[in-house]
Symmetry: C2
Subunit: 122 residues, 2 copies
Amino acid sequence: MDTQTLVERYWQLANARDWAGYGALLSPEVVYDMPQTRERLTGREHYLEFNRTYPGQWRAELLQVIAQEDRAVSVVAMHLNGSVETGITFFEFTNGLITRLTDHWPAPYVPPPRMTAAIEFY
Amino acid sequence: MDTQTLVERYWQLANARDWAGYGALLSPEVVYDMPQTRERLTGREHYLEFNRTYPGQWRAELLQVIAQEDRAVSVVAMHLNGSVETGITFFEFTNGLITRLTDHWPAPYVPPPRMTAAIEFY
């Protein structure tokens, strides 16, 4: 399986709550980091527990994947309890297994004053 | 120039304030989006003006690039007026020029309560 396909399967299996299939994509020593909160999970069992017990209704809509042989990034629209958040996940692979995930959740913010008048809002 | 090299040059030229060289990487119709604020700049001249007039001291430290033939993503540590912010930029290319940039600035936040005790802080 190439890394693009691995990332697609990762999200399909998460949405299906197929934790056996999902866990089979993970290295036993996988590390999951959230740099914005500096939270970390180490090891497949801990990471599976985190996902299995994540509260509320959620479904990841995969918007984009950029993949190289040993690394990839995905962008998802995470539908969570009726709202939508953007998730950006970086993946590292070794021998076809995910060894590291780094997850970013960029939230809306009020823009600062800008020096240019050319800004539009969409 | 491959897309990995284009992204590296993009940040080198930005740090050097070499706006002629930087502009030469951009399509005249480039679109720059910041989804968190829904701000948009359209066209090379507007985007150059935005960058040329960006206030304060800033330097982008390039941490990672993932590149395919027509798309790439970079992660930078943006050193801005003595602090550091993470910037995640998605690039789209047509005929070797940047046609679209989508920029995310995921900021620190207080984590919600978690259902698992396995979380560590790093």
